[in-house]
């Protein structure tokens, strides 16, 4: 009994060392640290936007339409006189929120399927792989547009249009990652101890491939945001007057000749957030890679 407790203690200490080392490795890269700060502040503002924005994001004010940035309206007003900053703050929960929830759903289901097909080889695995291929042959935006066409525009259909094509991406990724570790000694040991399949999948395989999933999810948040906003831009996503950022660009695009800031402010915000997610993904990949970490 004493032996087991010491072992557990040692294991926990080892885990802590790894966490500290990962954070140290991540902190080294100042650009990815900056990206994390950008993402956290935009997410915080969008969370605040659920309950508060400086002006009403929907209320037109025709006397103050198309005003350039000023003290009262830091990012100006659009063609209906709505405060652009308020619309961006209120719209974050659509653009970021939808992408986040959709990717989370898709990633969870896909990871589960990938684990199952990676652990239990055979017919189930083959079927999952074949179905994944069907989805992966078509580009994300075209699949999302197809689902939007079938489900109609709106929050739920945009959510599904992004979540469903995400499932096969994760299923394939986790499947091949699980294949790499399924014959490791610790999995073999757990099998000898007569642990159940699901127990081994979640307690032995998943923790050892989790870093792959985390990095992929960071990159995929960027993809998700691009897809939400592209659908919104085309008029196939969250419909106006909802201030989803892509919808805002799509609605404003005719003003590019006279009042370009109305078009570019939401567009550039989307780009900044996606750039941040991609740089964060690079930083996390380096920090979480066990091979790279050993060199530090």
């Amino acid at each position: 009994m004493i032996r087991k407790e010491t072992l557990l203690k040692e294991m926990n200490e080892h885990r802590k060392t790894i966490r500290v080392a990962t954070w140290k490795a991540f902190k080294r890269n100042k650009i990815s640290l900056l990206s994390l700060i950008v993402i956290l502040s935009v997410s915080a503002l969008s969370t605040v936007g659920i309950v508060y924005s400086p002006y009403n994001p929907y209320q037109p004010n025709f006397s103050g339409a198309l005003m350039p940035p000023s003290l009262a309206h830091p990012l100006g007003t659009d063609w209906l006189g709505r405060d652009i900053l308020s619309r961006l703050i209120a719209g974050g929960k659509y653009t970021l929120g939808l992408a986040f929830v959709a990717i989370l759903i898709g990633a969870t289901i896909g990871t589960f399927l990938g684990l199952a097909s990676g652990y239990y080889l055979g017919l189930v695995g083959t079927i999952i792989q074949r179905v994944s291929e069907i989805f992966l042959i078509l580009p994300t935006l075209i699949i999302a547009a197809l689902f939007a066409a079938v489900l109609g525009t709106g929050l739920l259909s945009t959510l599904l249009a992004i979540a469903i094509p995400t499932i096969p991406v994760y299923a394939k990724l986790v499947h091949s990652a699980a294949l790499r570790v399924r014959n490791e000694d610790y999995v073999e040991a757990a099998r000898l101890l007569k642990k159940s399949g699901p127990y081994i999948m979640f307690n032995h395989i998943l923790p050892n491939i989790l870093h792959v999933v985390i990095v992929q999810t960071t990159y995929y948040m960027g993809t998700g945001i691009l897809t939400v906003s592209a659908l919104g831009f085309l008029g196939l996503g969250v419909p106006s007057p909802t201030p989803e950022w892509g919808t805002m660009v799509g609605d404003a695009k005719d003003y590019i000749f006279s009042y370009p800031f109305v078009v570019f402010i939401p567009g550039i915000l989307i780009a900044v957030v996606v750039v941040a997610f991609n740089i964060l993904g690079d930083g996390l990949r380096e920090a979480l890679d066990p091979k790279l970490r050993r060199l530090l």
């Binding site: 994300t140 075209i142 590019i256 750039v275």
Partner: protein
């Protein structure tokens, strides 16, 4: 080798049938009566009934699917709900525009990406090295509509040198093609750059230098050639995002290709047309994928070994 190619094609056909299965049943889930849509809302009920029977829409779904697959073999993609004409004709009328745009964009991207990648690979810390990173970020993170609108703003609104809309002339092709090329250039450049850096450290380049071969000869023979194979792979992989980008780009620039036709078909609820477009997309993707794999075995002898092993 031949066996492997045939095997690959069989796999592609299975995937293709899967795509059609997915699209077909997804679209049949929709509420609404296609026969009513084609006939128009003023049509008499018996006419609608006749049309439904004529189009085979009164048969059970699995039978309809078999019918659709059989008509595909005869290159028949069905009848457009909106115009009543064959879907294939509408797609074929638009396809050359998308092909033109895609080929020009890919050519710009390959030319810019390969040259930038070589320069950056030879001198990683130079300005070209940073340009590769910047193009990489633009390609992976910028929404394509933002790139398109920025180009319109600079070249059409500010400089008045290029038109912002329409198709037909070379001037009208430039902005949409550059928009799409910008989505691809960074990836190609990054790949060529790392391939060049890798080649520079190999023995045969050192030998070539020691033999006193001219720089041009070394670059073309020993550095460019090994970089070619990954570039072809990436062109195949990027083809999907090229078509995804074409949907947005064609919509913004009013370019009458199949990307825009797809968006229009969704808005006009012409689902037979939408289904046809996806089928055509799937064929194109599979053909590109297989051609890339075959091209690679020709260019890169190492792939032959891989095929033999399989």
């Amino acid at each position: 080798m031949l066996e492997a190619v045939v095997n690959r094609m069989l796999q592609a056909i299975i995937t293709f049938i899967g795509v059609i299965l997915l699209v077909f049943f997804l679209i049949r889930v929709l509420p609404g009566d296609p026969a009513r849509l084609i006939a128009g809302f003023e049509a008499r009920p018996e006419d609608v009934q006749n049309l439904r029977h004529l189009l085979g829409l009164d048969k059970p779904l699995p039978l309809q699917f078999v019918d659709y697959m059989l008509s595909l073999l005869k290159l028949n993609l069905g009848i457009s709900y909106k115009t009543g004409g064959p879907v294939l004709n509408e797609i074929l009328a638009r396809l050359p525009y998308t092909a033109e745009l895609a080929v020009v964009a890919e050519a710009i991207a390959v030319f810019a990406g390969v040259s930038l990648g070589i320069i950056a690979g030879l001198k990683p810390r130079s300005f070209a090295g940073y340009l590769v990173s910047i193009f990489g970020i633009i390609g992976s993170s910028f929404p394509s509509f933002l790139i398109a609108l920025l180009l319109i703003w600079v070249f059409a609104v500010q400089l008045h040198v290029l038109p912002a809309f329409g198709a037909g002339s070379i001037q009208q092709l430039i902005l949409p093609a550059i928009t799409l090329a910008l989505l691809l250039t960074g990836n190609i450049a990054r790949l060529v750059k790392s391939s060049v850096i890798e080649s520079l450290s190999t023995n045969h380049v050192t030998t070539a230098m020691a033999k006193g071969l001219s720089d041009e000869k070394i670059i073309f023979r020993h550095i460019l050639r090994p970089a070619l194979s990954p570039v072809i792979t990436i062109i195949g992989i990027q083809f999907g995002s090229l078509m995804g980008g074409a949907v947005i780009t064609e919509t913004i620039f009013g370019w009458p290709g199949i990307g825009r036709l797809m968006v229009d078909s969704i808005f006009s609820r012409d689902f037979m047309l939408l289904q046809g477009i996806i089928v055509v997309f799937a064929v194109i993707f599979l053909v590109v994928m297989i051609s890339v794999e075959i091209l690679q075995t020709i260019i890169d002898p190492r792939y032959k070994e891989v095929y033999k092993m399989k």
